[in-house]
């Protein structure tokens, strides 16, 4: 296929009076493009509103209104020259692009398109920003991709795909003839269909709610955060409505948005795996803030931060994604997150803290506990109860341990400072790639069993400032295993240290204090 590219010159039809500051000029032009029945119209317009409507026309008829805004006359002239229309393709696939020559702070161009197309075409629109994109009355398929700006689709018989980032999507077609995919990251999605339409519905939102006024004909179940079901009879197209931060609405034509009900309140079938998701508070705030809470504090949210100054009782907190920041807990503390950092202050009871992604910082846990992250650094400033720390990748640092510690990381250093007054503690530290540093008081007694596995026996070593260890080396499967065992200061609790690809150091120097930024 021969590719024909031509540049159309924008004709100045109406000259607006230039304003003092900023300088503005509006130009309008009419364009016509041929297209075959069933052809595809592709429009790429970075900035500016787009209105496309199917009509009784045999070709594409467009009115372009170009608004140039500039800081000076000269910049205005440059802006006028700096925008071009490129027309390509052929009658079967007509491609039209508004191209801005260069990005600059001196001028900007927005082109508003008002287009009439034959109804039986397919429409593809690509836009960066606009206030709105509106497409109506199309028998073919519609595809829209934009970054910012609301997208409104109406009466489209064919399939529809809308992918937005920050825009909201409104779709209204009584009986969609093809599959519909409406997805945005930060906006809302609203789909309106006829009350008797038959279709499959898939809906998902991270932070928002899923609501419908079509409860009567709705059957389905939640699978984790995603709803899958049918409305009325099975066998129709699939309407997928998806947003991360906004709400999803499915409305019957004529029904008011006020009459909708949240799906989570409907008696739908639940799969066992989604029951946990069902328990969470779906309409919690993005950030829950509290000062002092007396008694048991229980809170669960699908997505949101939790910031509480003090809990005078036990605490049970779950967030699907967010920061958890607690100043002090006088009882037991159970904090779980599916993603996000945890910052906990003084925990008087047993602590159970886990996150699937993020760092964990704990000031102190008096009764010890379990602290785990699947990826991130763990810093525990003080513990006086048996504590287990696990990281899926990242350092583990315990500044002052006055009880037994078990620490394991897949890769990263493990640094443990034992309380200077402790005569002996049980320590178990493992890293699959990294160093282990153990800081103890000069009188600390223990039965040491330290092993490093290395491919470079010269680089990785075991060193102890306290005497009493003897070293053995052996070669296993191409690696060197160096093992140091013995009693320090007459012996005591078992201290087991295992590092792969790193050093082990036992030092009597005090661990440097960890600097923590104020909460």
């Amino acid at each position: 296929m021969k590719i024909r590219v031509s540049t159309a010159v924008l004709i100045l039809c109406v000259a607006a009076a230039a304003q003092a500051a900023p300088f503005r000029q509006t130009m309008t032009t009419e364009q016509k493009f041929s297209i075959t029945p069933g052809g595809t119209f592709v429009l790429e317009n970075p900035h500016g509103n787009i209105d496309i409507v199917g009509s009784n026309v045999t070709q594409i008829e467009a009115t372009l209104t170009t608004l140039v805004t500039a800081k000076s006359e000269a910049a205005l002239a440059e802006g006028r020259r700096g925008s071009n229309l490129i027309i390509g393709g052929d009658a079967k696939t007509r491609i039209v692009r508004t191209v801005i020559a260069r990005k600059t702070n001196d001028w900007s161009v927005a082109v508003q398109w008002n287009v009439r197309v034959p109804r039986n075409v397919h429409v593809h629109v690509v836009s960066t920003s606009s206030e709105r994109i509106r497409i109506n009355d199309i028998l073919g398929s519609v595809k829209v991709k934009n970054f910012r700006g609301n997208v409104m689709i109406g009466d489209v018989s064919g399939s529809t795909v809308v992918e937005s980032v920050n825009g909201s999507i409104v779709y209204a077609t009584p009986h969609p003839g093809g599959n519909v995919l409406l997805s945005t990251v930060n906006g809302n999605v609203t789909a309106t269909v006829a009350g008797d339409a038959d279709f499959r519905w898939v809906a998902e939102t991270g932070r928002g709610d899923i609501r419908t006024s079509m409860q009567q004909g709705l059957r389905g179940a939640f699978f984790g955060p995603r709803f899958q079901g049918t409305v009325n009879a099975p066998g129709g197209p699939t309407i997928t409505t998806s947003t991360l931060m906004g709400d999803v609405h499915l409305l019957a034509a004529g029904a008011s948005a006020a009459k909708t009900q949240s799906l989570r309140q409907l008696p739908l079938t639940e799969s066992p795996s989604s029951r946990a998701a069902q328990r969470t508070n779906t309409s919690g705030p993005a950030v829950l803030r509290r000062g002092t809470v007396k008694g048991l504090f229980t809170y669960e949210t699908k997505m949101g931060d939790v910031r509480v100054q003090e809990i005078q009782g036990d605490a049970r907190i779950f967030t699907g994604a967010g920061v958890v920041q607690i100043g002090a807990v006088s009882g037991a503390c159970n904090v779980r997150s599916h993603g996000g950092p945890l910052e906990l202050g003084e925990i008087s009871g047993v602590l159970t803290a886990s996150t699937r992604a993020g760092d964990i910082l704990v000031d102190s846990t008096r009764r010890g506990g379990t602290i785990a992250t699947q990826g991130g650094t763990i810093r525990l400033l003080y513990t006086s109860g048996p504590t287990t720390l696990t990281s899926g990748g990242g350092d583990i640092i315990v500044s002052q341990a006055a009880a037994s510690v078990k620490a394991e990381t897949t890769s990263g250093d493990v640094v443990i400072g034992v309380d200077r007054d402790s005569k002996s503690e049980k320590i178990d530290a493992q890293t699959k790639k990294g160093n282990i540093l153990l800081h103890v008081g000069p009188k600390f007694g223990a039965d040491i069993d330290a092993t490093i596995v290395t491919t470079d026996a010269r680089a990785d070593t075991i060193a102890s400032e306290l005497p009493g260890l003897s070293i053995r080396r052996e070669h296993v499967a191409g690696k060197t295993v160096v093992r140091a065992t013995g009693k320090i200061n007459g012996g005591g609790q078992k201290v087991v240290l295992h590092a792969t690809g790193g050093d082990i150091r036992i030092s009597t120097r005090a661990l440097a204090p960890t600097v923590v930024k104020p909460r």
């Binding site: 296929m1 590719i3 590219v5 592709v42 390509g88 696939t93 491609i95 946990a276």
Partner: protein
């Protein structure tokens, strides 16, 4: 010349006799050219690369350590040349400004090769383009040149572990693009 090993040919060259040039070129030019072509996606640059690699091989023959493989050394020179080429700003592959080139033409315009085979070839080319330069280098040397990770590490100037990671990530990306399957990082036994 054909009966002499690479090391023997290189010793002749190191002695100042350039007559093995043609034989060495015939042995390795195909591999070097194809590697450069697939890496740079530019036939002109691949031709320049091939020529310059062999000229460098002749001029700096004394840098060749006879205990190593000649192919490893040649790929090393080629990879360095290609990286330098890409580093220059105006040699970075640019996306075509004109969306029209992505439109499918009528089948009558396609060359004689079987349509499906040509489409697969296009898909593979596009998929390789989606890789980073380091990943593409690693997968080209591993998959198409059959080099070991140790050899690739030497050529790329990184560790074997890094090569393993690059090949793994390249395969994940290629798998996603060519078969539509993405391996999640969650296995069946992940704790909830």
């Amino acid at each position: 010349m054909k009966h002499l090993s690479d090391q023997e040919l290189m010793r002749i060259v190191q002695a100042g006799d350039f007559s093995p040039a043609s034989e060495i070129y015939d042995r390795y030019s195909g591999r070097i050219y194809n590697f450069a072509f697939r890496f740079l996606r530019n036939s002109e640059a691949a031709e320049d690369a091939t020529q310059e690699v062999f000229v460098k091989m002749m001029k700096h023959a004394n840098q060749f350590n006879g205990e190593a493989k000649l192919s490893t050394w040649l790929f090393s020179i080629t990879a360095n040349w290609c990286r330098d080429y890409l580093r220059k700003a105006d040699n970075k592959p640019k996306d075509s400004d004109d969306v029209l080139v992505t439109l499918p033409g009528p089948t009558a315009d396609l060359p004689d090769r079987h349509l499906e085979q040509r489409q697969d070839e296009q898909r593979v080319r596009k998929a390789l383009e989606a890789l980073t330069a380091e990943q593409r280098e690693a997968i080209l040397l591993s998959r198409y040149q059959g080099l070991s990770y140790a050899e690739i590490a030497q050529i790329a100037g990184c560790s074997e572990g890094a090569v393993k990671t690059r090949v793994f990530r390249a395969m994940e990306t290629l798998k996603k693009l060519l078969t539509g399957e993405s391996g999640g990082d969650r296995c069946l036994n992940v704790v909830q």
